[in-house]
Amino acid sequence: MWPRVLRWSPRGKWLECVKQNAGSYNVRPGYCTSTASKHVLDTGSRNDLGRNQPMTIERDKLIEMLRVMQSIRAFECKARELYEENRKQDWNELRATGTMFCAVHSSEGQEAVAVGACAALNPDDYIISTHRGHGHCIAKGADMKAMMAELMGKEGGISKGRGGSMHMFDPEVGLLGSNGIVGGGTPLALGVAFASQYRGTDEVTLCFFGDGAACEGTFHESLNLAALWTLPVVFVCENNEYAVTISAEDSVAGPDIGDRASAYGIPGEVVDGNDVLAVHEAVAKAVSWAREEAGPSLIECKTWRWHAHCTGLPDRRDPDEIYHWTQERDPLPRFEQYLLGQQIITDAKLAQMRKETNEAVEEAVAFGEASNWPDPTTVAEYLWA
């Protein structure tokens, strides 16, 4: 079992690095303290317990991770805009004409979790995502064009317009669905992992869920069962400190969610979820653990959502808190600065990349707009196999 290396003060908002079994606390200034080489990022030096093997990530992969983070940010921002625009119109009219745009649960601010985690997966690995799932889908390789068309309810959508924001499927890239029921995806992930085990493949299933979902009974049942049956599943808890308006402090009793792993005798870890490399490192370890048939594990990523729970709802959180998370702990500039500092990327390349991701999102919008509405006479299709 892995040692616990990085933790937060219980439920505190401020990052600190606590060594297990030791009284000394080191405030961790950020993730960029590693002695990484130009081509290869060594995050091993950040912690000293059982993490001595440096983790190497290809330069191109690092750049690709940044691109995906930027894409998610741009996609989410656009999706919120489209919602707002749409709902400025008369709602009854929208309903009567079938042109309503769904509420979206933006994952802005949480990009490091989606990208850090999915970057640890192979194309034939699987993910099960949540209501706040656009980032996961993009990070696993889903097509933004099809995703945007889905939000618009078009036939060209990733679920042919039948699913919407919370029900995106693309088995081709291993996306076996986001889910509108909090805690509803956890048992499904068991099954996907079970199928891999049953067939003797080395595929791994990664299951995203939130701090809210960690309070549902399915969390407990799923971790227990996965542990008993050594299922190749990685549970990634995106603890963004809130479930709609309830804080994790008011809904999660005891120490960290990641600590709950010990109740099932499986490895658990708590990482800075706004540090894409920290997430990546922890999840990569968990994925190889699963791939080597050692069973499930639980990674809690401490992060924060930037916007209201979903479009259409107010956000009444503390301005200081908002400032801290959006200005001081934004995962994107942190990673950009790191890559710049390591001369893995240049300012010019960065500007170029931003332009490209924005263009890609605009293309996605154009694709969605150009896509046809579903044919009403096909409404009963896809009910039965």
């Binding site: 309903r95 509420a103 029900h167 009974g217 308006t245 008011d250 409404v379």
Partner: protein
């Protein structure tokens, strides 16, 4: 008469009942500062404090069960389950516990409990947030089931539900919350089990609850010059005011139940059965249910609007039946 929103009417009902009886408390997700997903519990936390407005973690089985236990122990919980779709994670506490405890105990305990939840579609929320599951609850002896349609009704019915000594499933329609309507001044309640003739007519009886009451009334008005339509809102499915429905069908000879729930095995089928059994000889045409397509709700609005009865569908159905 004052004009207020549906959600405000609910809020008034809850404030009044909480003032009246300090054993009444609220429990559910996001019911404190946000006032619940609909805003129905807005201000309750400020007025009654954290003791009586309990914002719960995402643990529907635990907090619904907590409410059932608290009811058994003498309190009067009002629970909010955010969407009716989520009863699927706490069905045991509703069906095997709340509904049965009194009977199984030989009458030694009672469970005065209201579970408020929202149903219905056409809000672009797709298959897992758009269901109409009232029929399930009506099939479970021991539960009362209320589906209010208007601002005046929701206030009076919610107050009765809170005062009732039995578990009551109170299903609000998500599209009704912002609607406005007139509401009587002062204190009033509407008894559970008493239906209302929302419009009198001679040619056909329409039975509808919740959002569909409004659609049937529009349809009736559309046809006013042609066909005389009676519209009945039973308010509650359990207990059901069969006298009211039967009297109407005996007059009109025709029954059309309009529901947003999937047609198959919806509560409309139950009403048709009751009328077929109890007023067969009064029927001069086949009774009918106009309900939703037997499909999960598709997300795309262009598809979703195909699945739910609209005013025009009701008009057409009436015409077909009376022709």
């Amino acid at each position: 008469m004052r004009e207020i929103t549906f959600v405000k009417a609910m809020n008034e009902a809850m404030v009044e009942e909480m003032e009246r009886d300090e054993t009444v408390f609220q429990i559910g997700e996001d019911i404190a500062r946000m006032g619940g997903i609909s805003g129905a519990t807005k201000g309750l936390i400020a007025r009654f404090g954290e003791k009586r407005v309990r914002q719960a973690p995402l643990s529907e089985a635990a907090f619904v069960g907590l409410a059932v236990g608290a009811a058994m122990a003498g309190l009067r919980p009002v629970v909010e389950v955010m969407y009716v779709d989520f009863v699927t994670v706490c069905m045991d506490q509703i069906v095997n516990q709340a509904a049965k405890l009194r009977y199984m105990s030989g009458g030694q305990v009672k469970v005065p409990l209201v579970i408020r939840t929202q149903g219905g579609g056409c809000n672009a929320e797709a298959a897992q947030h758009s269901q109409s599951l009232e029929a399930w609850f009506t099939h479970v002896p021991g539960l009362k089931v209320v589906m209010p349609a208007t601002c005046a009704d929701v206030k009076g019915l919610l107050k009765s539900a809170i005062r009732d000594d039995n578990p009551v499933i109170f299903i609000e329609h998500k599209l009704l919350y912002p609607t406005t309507g007139e509401i009587p001044e002062g204190e009033y309640t509407i008894p559970l089990g008493q239906g209302e003739v929302k419009r009198t007519g001679e040619d056909i009886t329409l039975v509808a609850t919740s959002l569909m009451v409004h659609r049937t009334l529009v349809a009736a008005e559309t046809l006013a010059d042609e066909i005389s339509v009676e519209v009945i809102d039973p308010h509650t499915l359990v207990p059901l005011d069969m006298d009211c429905i039967k009297a109407s069908v005996q007059k009109t000879g025709r029954l059309l139940v309009v529901q947003e729930a999937c047609t198959r095995s919806g509560f409309g089928s139950e009403i048709v059965r009751r009328i077929a059994e109890e007023a067969f000889d009064d029927l001069c045409a086949a009774p009918r249910v106009l309900g939703a397509a037997n499909l999960p709700k598709p997300y795309s609005g262009k598809l979703e609007i195909e699945t739910i009865p609209w005013e025009a569908d009701i008009v057409e159905a009436i015409r077909n039946m009376v022709a």
